[in-house]
Chain length 218, copies 2
Amino acid sequence: MNKGAQTQATILNHAVAMAGVHGLDGMSIARLARATGMSKSGLFGHFGSKVALQRAVLEAAAKEFVRRVLIPAQQERTGEARLRALFHHWLQWLYAEERPGGCPLVSASIEFADRPGEVHDYLVDQQEAWVDRIRRMSQKAVAEGNFREGLDTRQFAFEFHSIGLGFNFARRLFSDSKALTHANTALDQLIDAAKRSRQPRLATRPALPQRVYGAHEG
Amino acid sequence: MNKGAQTQATILNHAVAMAGVHGLDGMSIARLARATGMSKSGLFGHFGSKVALQRAVLEAAAKEFVRRVLIPAQQERTGEARLRALFHHWLQWLYAEERPGGCPLVSASIEFADRPGEVHDYLVDQQEAWVDRIRRMSQKAVAEGNFREGLDTRQFAFEFHSIGLGFNFARRLFSDSKALTHANTALDQLIDAAKRSRQPRLATRPALPQRVYGAHEG
DNA sequence: GCTAAAATCGTACGAACGTTCGCATACTTC
DNA sequence: GAAGTATGCGAACGTTCGTACGATTTTAGC
């Protein structure tokens, strides 16, 4: 390993942590230099621009995400087991004690949701790939005959993803110690529902018109 | 209405929009002054400090949230109808076309999740109150005999909240036009499940040890 | 219409920001 | 060990940041 790559890795470790707490924009090169014991210019030289540094931070986080969430789940054989493993490791990843600031990818996604640019585009691709992986894994469970035929896998992926986001929010902002239990329970229910043949809807229907808001959509 | 209060309201309108896109920190007084056609110092005088401005932005957003989400839902009589109305208006609020940047409260909650201070504390209180309102409303539905006896209302509130966060993420980052349908479907299922007597768990249990991660918790 | 108060402005400050550049030191490779 | 390159530093640039203060204009109450 080159000297350069080595210090670059050190920098990125600190950078990921700082970006998690202060955001990708709030992470400043000066403070990062102080944290790593380097000079501003020396650190800067490794990346050439702040945007490039932000990109590098996201790529480092994504790489870590693969290593800690995706790879371990691939040991499982069935779709359901992989989904459970993905979920399990994802929660661990979302709330890793040693990394303050939670998942940098989720935080940055909120931060850059409405700010066009390469950071935004990168995040969209990365997060869409993640949700699509969940969807494909549920599709695999359907193909295996474990989840019911005709399951709406996009819907499944949406709910799976939502539970994780809910956990992230509750655990980080509320410091809710029950968040883990809630998330696991929600996943159990989601998977159970995916197995069951479709339930007949109950007779009672809501009095409120439901989708007026979305009426303009296709 | 005083002149002061009037311009202050104008400022806050712009400020809420800017904070939604650039974050509470990314919102700068200079750019805000340019957007409102005022001088930096003139604008600054209305608040006295940037933290105070941030507080004012959050309070303005919270007030608007009450006006647009909580109040309308109070017209409904039953717990379920109120829950559905809360959800409906919440989604509208989360993705209001005229307000770029999504819900400032959610964005700021992520931004300040790990940054102690009065902004953090305010957000914790506000968001906890919101989730607790959902919980109380589901409790009301239980008391009315609509939701089943013994329903875990904290769990219900967690899932309700998660769906909203999932919608916010999908709609804003992915520009997913199906997000609204997914969210509504998820809510329907959540409410249906709250009505049903507890389902017997299916025989198949996961092979993966499920809660190792949370084993250290109480 | 006068006057006290409120609102707004212009200017300035020190700090922090991202970035540049030339120079020194440390590595690698032969 | 010499040559050549990679790496890091220090100082400085121009810009933007939040904030302060006195002067000036605009509003509100009598």
